[in-house]
């Protein structure tokens, strides 16, 4: 690899984004990941970091409704886009249907993976409001939980899907 001078080129970029509906304008380092931006710059520490290889899923957030690994996604890439994190799920301090289903189905123990599972499950239920058990398992297979053995999580998602359909709205 050849020697190169970095000094001539700007290493940061001005971005405008919406995080959980709130407009944010910042100058971010090009090399900052979305996870670093959320946690270190904005104090939104609900999004966790672990494997940093897109394998474990604890950093899952939604960008323009797509699930992404915030550990391997540049903060500059949310410029002009909408970001949703676990902090945006509850409404006025009240857990949403999916969060409530996680609590009531004992779908968490230590809780480290939970934000990621909630965001992936949100993404699943938005594209498929009535998933089969198999479809839930398939969609969540990129998220790792070492406490629950997964079954309570799958049950929680199916439970939430039923509640949201019964309420007749797509619960955000």
């Amino acid at each position: 690899m050849s020697e190169h001078e970095l000094s001539e080129q700007p290493l940061d970029t001005e971005i405008q984004t919406h995080i959980n509906g709130r407009p944010i304008a910042r100058r971010v380092r090009n090399r900052a990941t979305l996870a670093q931006f959320l946690r270190d710059d904005l104090g939104l520490t609900g999004t966790k970091l672990s494997c940093e290889l897109q394998v474990c899923g604890v950093c899952s957030v939604l960008v323009d409704d797509r699930p992404v690994s915030a550990c391997t996604y540049l903060a500059v890439d949310v410029d002009g886009r909408q970001v949703r994190t676990v902090e945006g799920l509850a409404c006025n301090g009240k857990l949403n249907a999916l969060q409530s289903a996680f609590v009531e189905n004992f779908a968490l123990q230590c809780g480290f993976c939970t934000a990621g599972f909630l965001m992936m499950s949100t993404s699943l239920l938005e594209r498929n409001p009535d998933p089969s058990e198999h479809e839930v398992v398939e969609y969540l297979d990129g998220n790792i939980c070492r406490c629950t053995g997964y079954e309570p999580i799958v049950q929680a998602v199916l439970d939430a899907a039923g509640r949201i359909r019964a309420a007749g709205t797509s619960d955000d």
């Binding site: 970095l6 090009n30 897109q54 699930p67």
Partner: protein, 280 residues
Amino acid sequence: MLPPFGLARPRSVSAALAELDEDSVPYWGGTELLLAMRMGLIRPRQLVDLKGIAELTEVRIEDGELVLGAGLSHDEVARDPLVAEHAPLLAYAEALVGNARVRAQGTIGGNLCFAEPRSDVATVLSALSAEVRLVAADGTDGADGTDGADGTRERRLDMAAFLLGPYWTDRQPDELLVDVRIPLPVTAGVYLKYQTVERPTVGVAAVARGAAGCRLVVGAVGELPAGFDFEDVASVDAEAIAGELEPTPDLTGSILYKRHVTAVFIRRALAELAEKVSAP
């Protein structure tokens, strides 16, 4: 922590080509590139973000080929109606790549350019006899007779010519992979893989093209997808093919084990293909 880098955000292919060189590299989903940068394997001066170029996410039928823009995410390919109609095998395989986040971020073109030897996409595209189109800014004014659009030169390569080895393709630093082209029609196709970790141990793709015979490709086991052409499914000797391969021994199995699993999956894939071809 990623190393520092500059960022270009071109809005057209020609603007992107003007930015590309050895140290200024194409960037889209980052699912492979950012990991390689974090590990210190590559340290570009600049990333050329291609996400602002609309034509790189088009899907169309052109001259008897299904043309897929290189910037389509795995999920977009998996859910595209034209892909579902003309190359359902690719839609099926794309829906199985990585996990839902990788499928939402990673692109078909990026996957090919990274040349991960266990890529589902490369195996299936090899079986579909797909070609990639590479475009570069033309300094020579078409003197080599390979003129593309204004001010560009282009070439088309099949998978065997494009993929040179693990993490190694024939793409030159000034070239951009703009689209993937699948010749139509495809009679029937099958993809079967065995996977216990993030990437498959073996992936077998088989494609029938009516009187043109069938093509079998074994991926993930060796350093490159291995292709075999046959007049009909019945003439394939699964053990002989598995015996010819050079499996890479790793945590998912020894050479002996991988040969065995490969033969099993070739047999299953061909049985399924024969069933699909004979179905009314």
